[in-house]
């Protein structure tokens, strides 16, 4: 995968997160059941998106760092 693809992919994930964590999508996940690890569903929804963005940045960072090292050599 090229750095450009990864960056565009990250941008898409960001837009999805932005939509997922604001009105109106939030009105669709406004429920307590099913509980996930004991958390009500909507609270787990927020936590889940935090994990998704973290993993996305982790992947992006791999590619950015690799590209940077390639530049240097």
């Amino acid at each position: 995968m090229s750095l450009r693809t990864v960056r565009i992919g990250a941008g898409v994930v960001y837009l999805l997160a932005l939509a997922a964590l604001t009105w109106p999508v939030l009105t669709r996940v406004n429920q307590v059941e099913p509980q996930i690890l004991g958390l009500p569903f909507h609270m787990a929804w927020f936590a889940g998106w935090i994990v998704v963005t973290f993993v996305t940045l982790l992947i992006v960072d791999r590619f950015e760092t690799a590209a940077e090292e390639e530049d240097r050599s």
Binding site: Y14, V32, G38, M43, F46, I50, L57, D61, E68
Partner: protein, 502 residues
Amino acid sequence: MERWQVVTAILVAYLGVTLGIGLISGRRASKSVTGYVAGDRDFGLLVMYFVTGASVFSAFAFLGGPGWAYSRGAAAFYILAYGVLGMFPWYWVGQKVAATGRSEGFVTQAQLITGRFPSRTLSVLIAVLSVAAFIPYITLQMRGAGIVIEAVTEGHIPLWAGAALAYGIVVVYVLTSGVAAVGWTNTFQGIFMVAIAWTLGLWLPRRIYGGIGPMFDRIATERPELLEMPGLTATGDPWSWGAFTSAILVSAIGISMWPHLFMKAFTAKDARTLRRTVMLFPTFQLFLIPVFLIGFAGVFYVAPDQLPGGNVDFVLPTMILQTELPALVVGLFCAGALSASMSTGDALLHAAASVTIEDGVAPLRPLDDRAATRAMRVLVVLFGVVAYSFAVWGGSSLVVLLLTSYGIIAQLAPPVIAALYWKRATTAGALSGMIAGSGAALFFYFNPGLRILELHEGLLGLAVHLVVLIGVSLATSPQEPDHVNRFLAPGASPAQPEPATP
């Protein structure tokens, strides 16, 4: 010895250790002129991680977060959303800020903005806005420290005295050792906070309700309105989606604009360290989960009339004190909450004073190093006193104070983004956008009834800001392409040696 005396003794010991670390690290760093820079270079990723975390998570996370979960339920979830949404773009924007800083020699936000849009008025305006945003933020931290101390000592040391004690210490170490102290005390405090929050967040629901799931089952049955998004207002009525969503957006736009965080892009050792700090940021957001669990655990455990003055910010310390936890654990926990307040408060005081000197005074009247240092010390004390008087006599909850300051600081986002990404932006556009945006935010702050869809005043201000910035920029003549390229593609062409434009 009574229980509260044991807890107080631990807090005093903790404050002593903090002061000690602050003073020792300052003495070490001040031996060389480049103490600050060298000190920063010492910071490996782990230290950098806790420095960022401790300065982002403040009394607000430890006291305001549980207070909101306890009294306003799902409304508190907005806090989970904005950190991630705000910091993600900073992974790239931050790098560009850093690159521009390197090629142009900027050290503050206003220098970056006025580098692209030369205007002394704009620089002073940015300094004024930053300080206006810092004051409620510092007030929040001070009141948090006072709340912890008042609760722990069962009122023997009231809020006003507790806040004065904790911030007396903060001011002393900011004055004697500057930024180096901020870095090292933050690390110490950061580790402390994370460990204790997770321990209590998992333990308390189990202890009181037999588990996290059973706790939420009971809330869903007996207080279903708390778990219905977007939660409740302070008075217990349903909150509106407009207010909830715009609180997220304003905070997300504002978070990376805080001068004390923004300037890290200029001081970070290299692009990689900066990127990694941003990358690890979401893990701090997860730290809010146990904090909220503590707040939710209080719903059936603490009656509102048990809180001093009915102030929900007291919910967490009140709960901790009611459990039969050993006094040692309670003491350590309260020290953690206190550290959350102080580790943010010191960074804020330092940044507020630096920004005032660098951006508010220096463009009008250049100061030599000694005069600048002296003026900074005076300002640290001055801002401390102003925030303290608000902390003691003001009335809003911690989260409300935070939201107000985010509305102000978010106004710095349009000129930063325009400076780095929009070639057609002009000085007249940036300046008039800033004036119109801040003016609109101020207007809606004082006229809450006129807000459309109950949107946050900061977001309404941003809407006006953008329209004016774009409109005026397009109506005025474009900037020189060479000048613009230094910001849109920093370091791309060899920098032309030019006389510095103040």
